[in-house]
């Protein structure tokens, strides 16, 4: 339903007029096929562990989601009110597909699953995330991650 025609007139106008960062070109890092790759999830759903610091307006930092995080410890502190949260309340995999990724790793379709995953608060302006993302790239390399799945909300 996230077709622009699914929103009402104001909703369409909002998404159409939302300023987007501009990039002169698209970088390209050669990827391994999934069956050979160590894969991490980076979410922008404002996910966090219960008791961790909630996100706030314009948060440019991230929260850590360990690979063995229990579903019961996952909560959300995204600031936006303009997306459905009932799916997440029912099943965290609808926005953080960690169980599905582990299943694909168990049957060999994915090489392995990273020991750490990361969550941002997606309503923050992308420019503010640049430095954090560069820092994050270093952490991902330390964990020998070959590919990141970016999952919005």
């Amino acid at each position: 339903m996230a077709r622009l025609t699914d929103f009402d007139e104001l909703g369409r106008e909002y998404y159409e007029s939302m300023p987007m960062p501009e990039f002169a070109d698209t970088p390209w890092a050669t990827a391994k096929p999934a069956r050979a790759a160590r894969v991490a999830i980076v979410s922008t759903a404002g996910l966090q562990r219960r008791g961790d610091r909630p996100f706030s307006v314009d948060s440019a930092d991230y929260r850590l989601l360990p690979g063995d995080v229990k579903a019961a410890d996952l909560v959300m502190s995204h600031i936006s009110t303009n997306f459905d949260r009932t799916g997440f309340q029912q099943d965290h995999n609808v926005c953080f597909p960690i169980d599905r990724l582990n299943e694909l790793a168990a049957n060999g379709e994915v090489g392995s699953v990273a020991s750490m995953h990361y969550s941002f608060m997606g309503a923050t302006h992308p420019d503010k995330l640049e430095r954090t993302a560069e820092h994050l790239a270093g952490l991902l390399k330390q964990d020998a991650v070959d590919a990141v799945l970016l999952v919005p909300i």
Partner: protein
């Protein structure tokens, strides 16, 4: 997430991202993206449908094999159950999650009405929590009745306002409490035996609860505040844009920024 794709890829990490608003992805041109036709908030399509989620995940992982980019592919299968039961007409019948008791005779304040709803919902919330083995309530760190009292307090007499002891700045606590109250209502409605679409749940909450009336009041209250942090709460963070027409709200604040 498109911009994160650029930043991580530039640092040498291959990325593949889900796209919910195709127009935004077309503008940002991240290295690898899979557009999905799902509702915002459900990037893998459907809760409790492992087979469907796995199909989305496989399509996303397959992008890693693209020889060059940027790649923007479409996942054209609609999410199961995305439209069924979404018709507001259904609210007259089986799809109405929870009907509240009629208020007691006499004057009932909005705060008393919201607290009454919360108490009526508690058994359903407990059932849902037990069945799901989890709850996403509690980020604000308050009990649910205190969440309701704190939020309603902004609409009443400032001198007797209930402000809990907290480490959070007040606007931040308002935001966390607002989401916690909605989590409580929506999880309680999820305790009902029949499965409900997100649309049916939203229609129930925004169309029939006193809590929704409170959020509309908070929106008005914060829109006029002298503190810009509260004005942001009012403009954009109390009532979802999709619900504005229900309350005759027309406030395209983004045209002014």
């Amino acid at each position: 997430v498109g911009a994160l794709g650029h930043y991580l890829e530039r640092a040498g990490i291959p990325t593949a991202g889900i796209s919910l608003i195709r127009l935004h992805t077309e503008k940002i041109k991240p290295p690898r993206a899979l557009w999905v036709p799902f509702e915002l908030g459900r990037p893998l399509g459907a809760p409790d449908d492992a087979a469907f989620q796995t199909r989305v995940l496989r399509a996303l992982l397959a992008l890693l094999e693209a020889p060059s980019g940027p790649v923007l592919e479409d996942f054209l299968e609609d999410a199961p159950g995305a439209t069924a039961g979404g018709d507001p007409m259904d609210m007259e019948g089986m799809a109405c999650p929870i009907r509240f008791d009629a208020p007691q005779p006499g004057e009932e304040t909005l705060e008393a009405a919201v607290l009454r709803e919360v108490r009526e919902l508690l058994p359903w919330y407990d059932v849902a929590r037990e069945r799901r083995g989890r709850t996403t309530f509690g980020v604000a760190g308050l009990e649910v009745e205190d969440v309701a009292r704190f939020l309603c307090g902004w609409l009443g007499d400032a001198e007797n306002q209930f402000i809990p002891a907290t480490d959070h700045a007040l606007p931040a606590l308002v935001k966390l409490a607002a989401e916690d109250l909605k989590v409580f209502y929506f999880e309680a409605a999820g305790g009902q035996p029949q499965p409900l679409t997100s649309r049916a749940l939203a229609d129930w909450f925004w169309g029939s609860t006193k809590a929704a009336e409170m959020f509309v009041g908070l929106r008005e209250r914060f829109r006029e505040d002298s503190d810009p942090a509260f004005r942001i709460l009012g403009a954009n963070l109390m009532v979802p844009r999709e619900q504005w027409s229900r309350f005759a709200i027309h406030d395209p604040w983004w045209r002014r920024t």
